[in-house]
Symmetry: C2
Subunit: 242 residues, 2 copies
Amino acid sequence: MQGYDKYAHEPFAVTVDLAVLTLREGALHVLLVERGQEPYAGKWALPGGFVRPDESAETAARRELAEETGLDDVSAASGLHLEQLRTYSDPGRDPRMRVVSVAFAALLPDAPEPHGGGDAAEARWLPYDDTGPLAFDHDRILADAHDRVGAKLEYTCLATSFCPPEFTLGELQQVYETVWGTGLDRPNFRRKVLATPGFVEPVPGAARLTGGRGKPAALYRAGTATALHPPLLRPPREGRSA
Amino acid sequence: MQGYDKYAHEPFAVTVDLAVLTLREGALHVLLVERGQEPYAGKWALPGGFVRPDESAETAARRELAEETGLDDVSAASGLHLEQLRTYSDPGRDPRMRVVSVAFAALLPDAPEPHGGGDAAEARWLPYDDTGPLAFDHDRILADAHDRVGAKLEYTCLATSFCPPEFTLGELQQVYETVWGTGLDRPNFRRKVLATPGFVEPVPGAARLTGGRGKPAALYRAGTATALHPPLLRPPREGRSA
DNA sequence: TGACTAATAGTCATGACGACTATAAAGAAC
DNA sequence: GTTCTTTATAGTCGTCATGACTATTAGTCA
C-alpha cells in the first residue's frame, strides 16, 4: 500500500453484477438482461453496472437493482436480501478492458415483470435451468450464487426472503425443494421449522387455500431469528459409497 | 455495462488485503505490518498491495503473501488455505483516493518469523486479541476473517490448514478451541473426528510426546475430505433464553 | 515406586431426525 | 348428499449423533 499515485497504475473499472433470484411457479428464476452491444451482443447477461465514484459496491448494487427491475420500492418494502458473493477479477474476463466485478446475490419474494428502466435493452425473468451460456463469466457467477444460496438455506432463515410477507409452510418448503432440487418430507420439515424459535411466527386466525384443493394452510410471517441452530441440513446426495 | 471508455470513469485502485492467521503457543496470531507513511503512520495494518494489470486478485494475494512473509515455498508446500473473504469499497476507506480492496483470509500451519522481504517496514505476528486499532478498516476485515474461519471450521475440514503435516488430535482440537474461544470435550471431539471419513488418516506407528508429560498421542495426516457431514457445531452460547 | 498428566476406550441418556401412519378439512366427481 | 381426492396437520417409532461422564492406558517427574 505504498507509493499511492492515482495514475501510476493502470486504471481498473469496478462494476457490480447482480444475480437476482426469485421463485415463479415453483421454479427458480433469474433476472437477465439482453446485451445490445459487442461483445456478447444478443447474449443474456446478469444485470449490473459501474460503481460510481461516490458509491460503495453495496450502494451501487442497490441502485442497479432498482434501475434494472424498476422495483424501486422493493429494497425498502419486502424482505429483500442482498448479499455480496465474491469478486471476479481475472484479467481476461472482459475483452475490452480491465474490469473487476463485485458480484451480489439478491433474493426477491414475488416477481413482478421488470420494466427495463435502466440501460438494459430488455430485462426478463428466465428459468434458472434454462439459461443458455451467458455473457462474460456470468455463468460462473450465477452458479456461485446458486451454491451460496443453497448453502445458506441450511444454517440461516434466508428462505423467507423468497416468500411474500405471509406464507404457508408448504410455500416455505417449496423454497428449499426448489433451490436444493430435492424433495423433503412434509411433516418433518414442519416439525423442524416450528421447533426453531424465531424462524416463523403464526399469523393468528389466518389461513390460505393453496390453490383450491385440500385443507387450507395456516399462514406464517418471517420471525426475528436469522440463524438456524441446529441447521436444516440438505439430504446428502446418494450413491457415494460402495 | 454499456459505454465502456477506459477513462470515462474515475479510476479505482484495486488492492488486496490479507488476513493471515496462524496458531502460536495456543493462541491465534495475525500477520501485521507496521505502516511507515501517512495516513496511519506507525499503526499496524494487514499486509497487502496493489493488484497488477495482468493479475487476478487471487494471484496478487499469493504474490503479496510470499513477498511479505518471505514464505515463498509456503504456497506450494504445506496446506496453505487462501480464501476470498469479501470486497471492501466504502468511498472513504482510504483518505487519499478511491481504493477498492479484495480481502483474503490465509491460514498457515506453523509460523516462521517473517522477514519482511517486500515493501513492509516491519512484519510481525501479533496475538489476535492484542491488536490495537489497525489502520484503515482493517479491524473490520480482520474480524470478518475470524468470523468466516470460525464458521468454516464447523462444516469443513479447514482446521487441518492450521496444523503441520502430521499432528495429534489434541493439536487439532486446540485449533477449534482457540478459534472458537471455547473448550471442547476431548473424547467427544475425538469420536467425532474419527467418525468423519476422510477428515484425518492415521500415520501408522507414529506417536508424539506432547511436550513430555502424559501418554504419547497418535499422529494423523489431513485426509482427502473437504466437507464435514454432519457438521461439527460449535457449542451454542449460553445465557440466551430465560 | 508412586503421584501426576495426557491420550484413549467405553457407557449412558437425551435429542434430533428419517420414515411412516393417521386424522382433519377442504374441493371435485357422481 | 356421498365419496374420492387432495393437502395440511398430528403423532409414532427406531436410529443415530451428541453431551456428559467414568475408566483405563502409557508415559514423565519426583
